[in-house]
């Protein structure tokens, strides 16, 4: 059936040969329009932020897209870094540590959990556990009770506390990705490892975990973006002067720099850089990860 369809399609295409030139021209016209639209809609905001981050205070106050009368690249960026006793550097340290620690913890626990949930699918208790995981994707966390629990454990306002929170809140998404991918690993692998004398723990760490690498790298990239850009959780669970993350710094600078838009924009550029660099290196991985996570099929 499919063979006969494709031959008749090529027949139909040559019949419409004459209409091809105008179709091609139309496609390029639409392409040009979409290029123009994408520039207006997506690039102008970036250009606006970038150009204003190198202006002086009075130029930036115009909020225009005009070319700067003089460039203040070094002054602006250095003053942002120095503001409030180098708070931004402290915040970068906190944000990077938080991202690395929470993603590390998340991968360590959710890979094993996702694998076991998949292998025990249909068993007693597994549907309840799956329900608990799914619920976590939908139901927003209860904030003040979480603070109460953190306080009880002496973890409120600590890096360890916010790390555990980020790992807990991103667990459902990671577990579901791991679970879906585990289904593609044949059980024969497990069985042959068992026959060779592997226990469950060794089976997972020396055989299964390396095979899960594609999901692991997807989760590293996607969740790094989420955790690094997170504003809400640090706002609630990691308050205090020495505890700022980069997103909180930006938020605090919003009131501090109300008359110096140039510095505010320089801050925006600085804190966007890490994720833009990540994007340049992992562009393909991000997109494949988004799709793997979203279309469960």
């Amino acid at each position: 059936m499919s063979a006969s369809t494709s031959t008749s399609v090529s027949g139909a295409m040559s019949a419409s040969e004459s209409g091809r030139f105008s179709a091609g021209a139309k496609r390029w016209a639409v392409g040009a329009v979409s290029l123009l639209l994408s520039t207006v809609i997506f690039w102008i905001p970036f250009y606006f932020v970038l150009i204003n981050s190198v202006k002086n205070k009075t130029d930036a106050a115009d909020m225009s897209m005009a070319w700067p009368s003089s460039f203040h690249i070094v002054d602006n960026y250095v003053s942002v870094l120095q503001a409030s006793d180098y708070m931004l550097l402290e915040a970068f340290r906190n944000s990077l540590l938080l991202t690395i620690l929470s993603i590390g913890l998340l991968i360590a626990v959710s890979s094993l959990a996702g694998f076991v949930l998949q292998r025990r699918e249909g068993g007693r208790g597994s549907s309840f556990l799956n329900f608990l995981v799914l619920a976590g994707l939908m139901i927003p966390p209860a904030i003040v009770p979480t603070i109460w629990v953190l306080d009880l454990l002496k973890l409120f306002k600590t890096l360890a506390g916010i790390t555990l929170i980020e790992a807990a809140l991103h667990f459902p998404f990671a577990a579901i990705l791991y679970k879906a991918f585990s289904a593609t690993l044949p059980r024969e692998i497990d069985e042959s490892a068992l026959i060779d004398g592997c226990g469950g723990v060794r089976l997972f760490y020396s055989i299964v975990f390396p095979l899960l690498k594609p999901v692991t790298s997807t989760i590293i990239v996607l969740e790094s973006i989420n955790v690094f850009n997170d504003f809400v959780n640090p706002l609630y669970f990691f308050p205090g002067a020495g505890n700022a993350t980069v997103q909180l710094t930006l938020y605090n600078f919003m009131s501090q720099f109300t008359t110096s838009w140039n510095l505010l924009f320089a801050d925006i550029v600085l804190i966007s850089l890490p994720m833009l660099i990540l994007f340049i290196f992992f562009n393909k991985r991000i997109v494949s990860g988004m799709t793997a996570g979203a279309v469960k099929g």
Partner: protein
Amino acid sequence: MIRLTVKTYSYWFLLPAFLIYFVFYLLPTVLSLFFSMTRWTLTDWDFIGFDNYRTFFSETSLNIGFRNTLIYAVVTCVFKVVLGLFLGAYLSSRVPFKNYLRSVVFFPTLLSTIAVGIAFSMMMHPSQGIINTSLAAIGITGPDWLGNTKIALLSVAFVDVWKGVGIATVIYIAGISAISPEYYEALKIDGGSARNAFWNITVPLSRPAMNSVIILSFIGGLRSFDLIWAMTKGGPGFTTDLIASIIYKQYQAGFYGLATAGNVILFIGVSLLAFPLYKYLARSEVHL
């Protein structure tokens, strides 16, 4: 073999994950049912029954959030579903600059919501912002996007769509690429147009992708907080307050019991709307 399976895939392996998940997510969620019925100082509490809920439902400044949250979630969801579909279908076809356009649409997703919010509040400044100065150049007097009580909520929703449509587009691209090309070939033989191909093949067969976009963006909209906080802080007045921003305000003011009641209302609301929607969408998918 059964015993072996049980031992190999021991439920003990779930312990580390579920311990963290239980202590920092499930337990607080269950506790919130109790604490929402207290007057609470974190160290001490009085049980007051449903008083917090009564306050929440009777004070306009608190319950305005219900309407706003629903409007915000529906508006952002509809725009992401529709724009994402057209962008996804367009960027799945043979288009010049395809890879470049895909990257550009996805780009805003990488930015922090706070940064996006700050940049757009400047661009939406009523007299100096570039949106209104550009409109003025072609003779249109733009509104005060964030200061006008009638449109402020929609302005923020628009920025949300700007930032989030990339994810919707990528999901659609994945869904559309999974459609077998044979359907399009068959349609071509029957003399169908590109329009037919879009409405009769692409739209119905990308339903799984569409359902993911609907659920993700609807739940995201209901829970939304950071963008509204960066752009309007719930103002002018309370006209752009969402349930999540009201919870934050009550928390800041030290009304912990009331904030927790807001949390419980939010998660009951999300469950009542999202679970049936999820079930309905799953049932109505096209089966081949």
